[in-house]
């Protein structure tokens, strides 16, 4: 299993004003559900990404609550309408308090 938490995002570099662009995001994460037991019978504590958000120029695009049943390495694909050039800000919130961020700029022609 991978242990490194690494966010990955794909956003087109440019678009026409008002276009809906497809955004793909993936973060490597074990997403331990908290339901499983180790070989000694002790519960393995829950450790998941519990929230994912995407903002464009400060305006929220998507805000997702993740639950323990979501598989390892959660992947999201969604569309966003871009009215102007700007920056997408992606944020993942980990159970352990860590926050992972990534940004991508897009130019509207």
């Amino acid at each position: 299993m991978t242990t490194v938490v690494r966010p990955r995002v794909r956003v087109p570099g440019s678009a026409s004003a008002g276009d809906a662009v497809t955004i793909k995001t993936l973060i490597s994460h074990k997403m331990e559900s908290g339901q499983r037991k180790d070989s000694d019978g002790n519960i393995i504590p829950r450790s998941i990404i519990n929230r994912f958000t995407c903002d464009f120029n400060g305006e929220n695009v998507i805000d997702v609550t993740l639950e323990p049943a979501i598989s390892t390495n959660p992947y999201f694909e969604f569309e966003a309408t871009v009215p102007e050039s700007g920056e997408f800000q992606f944020t993942w919130y980990d159970d352990d308090g860590s926050v992972y961020e990534d940004t991508k700029s897009i130019t509207v022609e």
Partner: protein
């Protein structure tokens, strides 16, 4: 365990009933819009009269699974390849070397390497798998501990090296000094094992395209290994896959890295001579 890549936009489509899989389909595999894969081709000479055509396991999987492999962003193996890239540049062991110290940029130095493995290693006097070779580098040139066979770091590295041969034809040598090992592998391939008395050939040669209970049998080529298996949500190595098959015949299996499985890997790899290297592929 059910594994499905969750996409917000396609969440509503999830209830669609998939078409019942039958034989191999006629789809075409192009990765990242640029690497054109040969997924069906003429069987190598040593399979004359055995298989009319060799077909990649990719053709036996559902459209959804196939699609995951056509884009590196959606191919979950690439997470592990990223990890291996870090390892590639990390100095380990007593001689102060990383992989990159000798081999520099993997994207250049490793092109075509995976396509010829397993192959004869003159110095060692035996057939080496890619993982054997990586460990030889680690112990002899880096002074580092060898990686456990088919364990995370070794598989990640194998996947990274394979990824730089994608699209190139598998071309392992079966003659010369490797011939003896190849023969041994061939014998294992046709030997019935376990309480169910099944040889590799019973499923993958005589019954590919059919179902064995819920599993859709392919020709069993390993040009896509290491492979991300959705059911495991992890990379799976060739020899671990062999063990899974042999276990399912209710037999005692060989250990990963054992001479038997190295021989079998060489033989099975040679059955796919001519197919493109797909590793790291995606299968269910």
């Amino acid at each position: 365990m059910m594994k499905k890549v969750l996409t917000v936009s396609s969440a509503l489509l999830m209830s669609t009933v998939p078409a019942l899989a039958r034989g191999p389909d006629d789809n075409t595999l192009v990765v990242n819009g640029e690497i054109e894969m040969v997924t069906k081709t003429e069987a190598p000479a040593h399979l004359d009269g055995v298989l009319p055509e060799i077909i990649s396991g990719w053709h036996y999987r559902s459209e959804e699974t196939q699609q995951l492999q056509s884009d590196d962003f959606e191919n979950p193996s690439m997470i592990f390849v990223d990890d291996a890239e870090e390892a590639w540049n990390t100095v380990e062991g007593s001689s102060g070397n990383s992989c990159a110290s000798c081999h520099e940029d993997a994207a250049e130095s490793m092109v075509g390497v995976s396509a010829t493995y397993p192959k004869w290693n003159e110095e060692a006097g035996q057939v080496y798998t890619l993982q054997n070779q990586v460990n030889a580098c680690r112990t002899e040139r880096m002074g580092a501990e060898p990686w456990a066979y088919d364990a995370g770091p070794a598989l990640n590295m194998e996947a990274l090296i394979a990824s730089h041969s994608r699209g190139m034809p598998v071309n392992v040598a079966i003659d010369g000094p490797a011939a003896e090992t190849w023969e041994q592998g061939r014998e294992i391939y046709y030997t019935r094992y376990g309480q169910l008395e099944l040889a590799c050939s019973n499923c993958h040669e005589n019954n590919n395209g059919n179902h064995i209970r819920a599993d859709h049998l392919s020709q069993g080529h390993i040009n896509g290994f290491p492979t991300y298996r959705l059911r495991n949500a992890a990379l799976i190595g060739t020899q671990s896959r062999f063990r899974g098959c042999i276990r399912d015949t209710r037999a005692e299996t060989f250990a990963t890295g054992s001479p038997e499985l190295v021989a079998l890997e060489l033989y099975v790899r040679s059955r796919g001579n001519g197919l493109s290297v797909e590793g790291p592929a995606v299968r269910n």
